[in-house]
């Protein structure tokens, strides 16, 4: 699951998965802009068949957070 999340995020923001750390966030990753963020949300919702709330989408600013939110939904 962790790998899948990393891959989805990497695809959405178009960087290599190995360049993403738990510390990566929109603030320190220029590719992670608002458009890429939406891309990621759409992919997460489809792949895990979940629906994220507005708050959750705003909350998901790094990989551990993303994992926490998605796990909560499964």
């Amino acid at each position: 699951m962790e790998n899948k999340l990393r891959q989805i995020l990497a695809d959405a923001i178009d960087v290599a998965p190995e360049n993403l750390t738990d510390k990566s966030s929109p603030d320190n990753t220029p590719e992670w802009d608002s458009f890429a963020h939406l891309n990621m949300v759409a992919a997460l919702e489809q792949e895990f068949r979940i629906s994220l709330t507005l708050d959750e989408v705003i909350e998901m600013q790094n990989l551990p957070k993303i994992k926490e939110v998605v796990s909560r939904k499964l």
């Binding site: 695809d11 458009f35 939406l38 759409a42 489809q46 792949e47 709330t53 507005l54 989408v57």
Partner: protein
């Protein structure tokens, strides 16, 4: 174990426990142990039929885990040992295909994947793997497989995978794939960028490589009014404008019930008047076609059900605004079009696709889930804009135009009437008839006895289509690919002008394999879906109806009479004389420009240079002193061919150069092309030109025009890979008018 259990139940219980063990080990990633137990299980026990499904599921789950771990030997061993059970499981076949392809055993890989496709036609993965297999040597086939993959997986990731694969294919094999380029701009007042991957994917499937310009968020007014803007510098050929009514008219929709009805209407009209001025500006500053999305009708109303009763309620206002957009489009013919985005959202289901959070977060008025549908609607404009509209629909008969098999059920037995199930075929025929009325040719390709077929056309009371509606009928017992080639030959059309509908998957597969240029429609298994399938096809979209389109069916009826005469006349010259051909060559005018542009896009065969021009290009040439734009009209004793030839000449005091010379294929071979060139020579000479130069640019389709210029006494002056240049010395040589043609006098400019 229960002692009093029925012995057969007992065996099954034991077996089911063993299968569960394997399953557990697979889940826990103990693959070697799972493999061992599966092996013992298979050796020790016979598998009763009711347990097969559980066994197959477990074995496939194991394969699924072995595959990414690249334990190919073990996986293939399982596949072979359990082949009795796995050979009909599409997932297992797909995994086996993937392993074979990993090992470079292409034939085995293709075999297994094709089998998987046959068993599970809606599953995307086999197509992806097939695409990868073909990518090296057969890029066309690879592209087709990737397209089939995306057709079955529109998800975000599926679209991304499709784009990645097609782009790498284009990079390495772009030359062979012959994609058309298209600069597309998308502007508007809400977030629409997420459309890009879907739109790019739809274009790729059409063999079009788009370049995109996406306007800044809500920047459309600046983009469209400033001649120096990024939009105009981009020089789009096709521009899409999408507007959200709430963002366009906040003063109206933000305070809807606070304003009086008449005031609401007035505000809406004022807003649209501003928009009209902007559209006008765009028409001035660009020669791109502009497609404007209409306004989406709301799923919910401020006044609830009373909205339908009130004066200038939400829905009524928006309907009025959409009507006004339609009027704008009619006032800019050939330039401005309306795209029914409300229809797209309704078809998706507004509630199903709604995504409020993205509307708040990202101003996405059109939700993500509706974007694939919107992209598909958009390419319905791309196809005709690039002249890629199909010309002829070829139909099977049995179980396609009527229910049942004519040879077995007879005239009275086939299903076609106003009651179910015959009414579905009746409706399908009516739908075909509407296509025919807008100028699409029809043909029949069927395994049947022609005499029986004729009887149905003449005697069946519910036949909506008549024999006369078909430009060509092939009802015989030869194979359908051969029939298809003959139809193409008889109608003088390229194979890529045809769409084929047949209920029989085997026949479709044959055509797909033998004649990939033909668009073979994936027919639904239930014939009640036939009419809707035809209506949903984007192959026949047009952006305008020319006079030729409306009369095309008569043109082809006259053609069949000509063929009859030709068969009766032994000598070609006698036949030509008997045709009484008359030719008119005229300078382009306002009425002929749309048709001239259409011909430059559609004519692929008898076309010396295959240069495509838009209407505005043609209009510019027609008014420039340095150019002559001619069109050719011809008729004979059987009827009028309409405008079927175009010549564009570039004039210098020294020489005239033929930029474009093309003729519709159906009139070639009767000396008409020579008469046309004769007339161009006369004009060039009276324009004091001493030479007429022309070039032949070979394409994959225009070889029939290769020998035209040398045959007309033109001298070859240079030749390279791209072009052959010819000239005619007007002082010494001339092109004679064939004696059987009457050239009517018309005055050029």
């Amino acid at each position: 174990m229960e002692p009093d259990l029925d012995p057969s139940l007992k065996t099954n219980l034991e077996l089911s426990l063993k299968i569960s063990e394997v399953q557990f080990l697979v889940e826990k990633n103990q693959l070697a142990a799972a493999d061992r137990r599966l092996r013992t299980l298979m050796e020790e026990s016979a598998i009763p039929q009711e347990m097969e499904k559980a066994l197959v599921q477990t074995a496939v789950a194991l394969l699924e885990k072995l595959h990414p771990a690249k334990q190919d030997d073990r996986a293939l061993d399982i596949f072979n040992r359990c082949s009795r059970y796995l050979k009909n499981d599409p997932r297992a076949l797909t995994l086996a295909g993937s392993i074979f392809s990993r090992r470079g055993n292409i034939d085995e890989a293709v075999h297994h994947l094709n089998k998987a496709v046959g068993l599970a036609p809606s599953s995307p993965d086999p197509y992806l793997l097939l695409g990868d297999l073909f990518a090296q040597d057969q890029p066309g086939k690879a592209m087709e497989s990737y397209s089939q993959y995306h057709q079955r997986n529109y998800s975000v990731l599926g679209t991304r995978t499709f784009l990645k694969r097609s782009k790498s294919l284009l990079e390495t094999k772009g030359g062979e794939l012959a994609f058309k380029d298209l600069p597309v701009a998308v502007v508007g007042n809400f977030t629409i960028e997420p459309l890009q991957p879907y739109l790019e994917a739809e274009c790729f499937k059409l063999r079009v490589r788009p370049r995109f310009f996406f306007g800044g968020y809500d920047q459309y007014v600046q983009e469209m009014s400033d001649p120096q803007s990024g939009l105009y510098r981009f020089k789009p050929a096709l521009t899409f404008l999408f507007l959200d009514h709430q963002a366009l008219l906040p003063e109206l929709f933000g305070a809807f019930l606070e304003t009086a009805p008449e005031e609401r209407l007035q505000t809406a009209q004022n807003g649209l008047e501003q928009l009209r001025k902007l559209l006008e500006k765009f028409m001035e500053l660009s020669d791109s076609k502009l497609v404007c999305g209409n306004f989406t009708l709301p799923a919910d109303h401020y006044m609830g059900v009373f909205d339908a009763q009130m004066e200038w309620g939400q829905k009524e206002i928006l309907l009025e605004m959409n009507k006004t957009l339609g009027n704008f489009a009619r006032s800019f013919p050939q330039r401005l079009f309306v795209l029914d985005i409300d229809k797209v959202l309704s078809n998706c289901g507004k509630d199903v696709v709604a995504n409020e959070k993205m509307r708040y977060l990202a101003k996405m008025t059109v939700p993500e889930k509706a974007l694939p549908g919107l992209a598909r609607e958009i390419v319905r404009y791309v196809r005709p804009a690039l002249g890629m509209t199909k010309k002829c629909l070829v139909l099977d008969l049995d179980n396609t135009l009527w229910g049942g098999i004519l040879g077995e059920d007879g005239l009275e037995g086939i299903r076609l009437d106003l009651e179910p199930p015959g009414n579905a075929f009746y409706e399908f025929q009516k739908t075909i008839k509407t296509l025919h009325h807008r100028g699409i040719l029809l043909a029949i390709n069927s395994k049947n006895d022609l005499e029986l077929v004729r009887e149905v056309f003449e005697k069946h009371p519910y036949m909506q289509l008549k024999m006369d509606d078909f430009a060509c009928i092939r009802a015989n017992w030869q194979d359908k690919a051969r029939n298809m080639r003959e139809i193409a030959q008889e109608l003088n059309l390229g194979l890529d002008s045809f769409v084929y509908m047949d209920d029989n998957p085997a026949e479709r597969y044959l055509i797909q394999r033998e004649l990939p240029e033909v668009t073979t429609v994936e027919m639904p298994p239930d014939f009640s879906e036939f009419a809707r399938t035809l209506l949903r096809l984007d192959a026949f979209e047009v952006l305008c109806l020319t006079e030729e389109d409306k009369h095309r069916k008569h043109l082809y009826q006259a053609e069949s009479k000509r063929r009859e005469l030709k068969n009766q006349t032994a000598d070609l010259q006698d036949y030509l004389n008997a045709l009484e051909i008359q030719v008119d060559v005229c300078p382009a005018d306002r009425f002929s420009i749309p048709r001239i542009a259409q011909l430059t896009h559609r004519t692929n065969q008898f076309n010396l240079t295959t240069r495509r021009y838009s209407e505005s290009d043609i209009a510019r040439f027609a008014t420039s002193a340095g150019h002559g734009v001619y069109y050719l009209k011809t008729h004979d004793r059987f009827g009028d061919h309409g405008i079927t030839g175009v010549c564009i000449a570039r004039k210098t005091p020294e020489a005239w150069e033929i930029d474009t010379f093309l003729m519709s294929c159906r009139i070639i071979g009767r000396g008409i092309e020579q008469a046309f060139l004769h007339r161009i020579c006369l004009d060039a000479r009276s324009g004091k030109a001493r030479k007429l130069t022309a070039r032949y640019l070979a394409t994959r389709k225009n070889h029939i025009a290769a020998d035209f210029l040398p045959g007309m006494n033109f001298r070859k002056i240079s030749h390279n890979e791209i072009e052959t240049v010819y000239e005619l010395d007007l002082g010494e040589e001339s092109v004679a008018l064939p004696p059987h043609i009457k050239l009517n006098a018309n005055h050029g400019k």
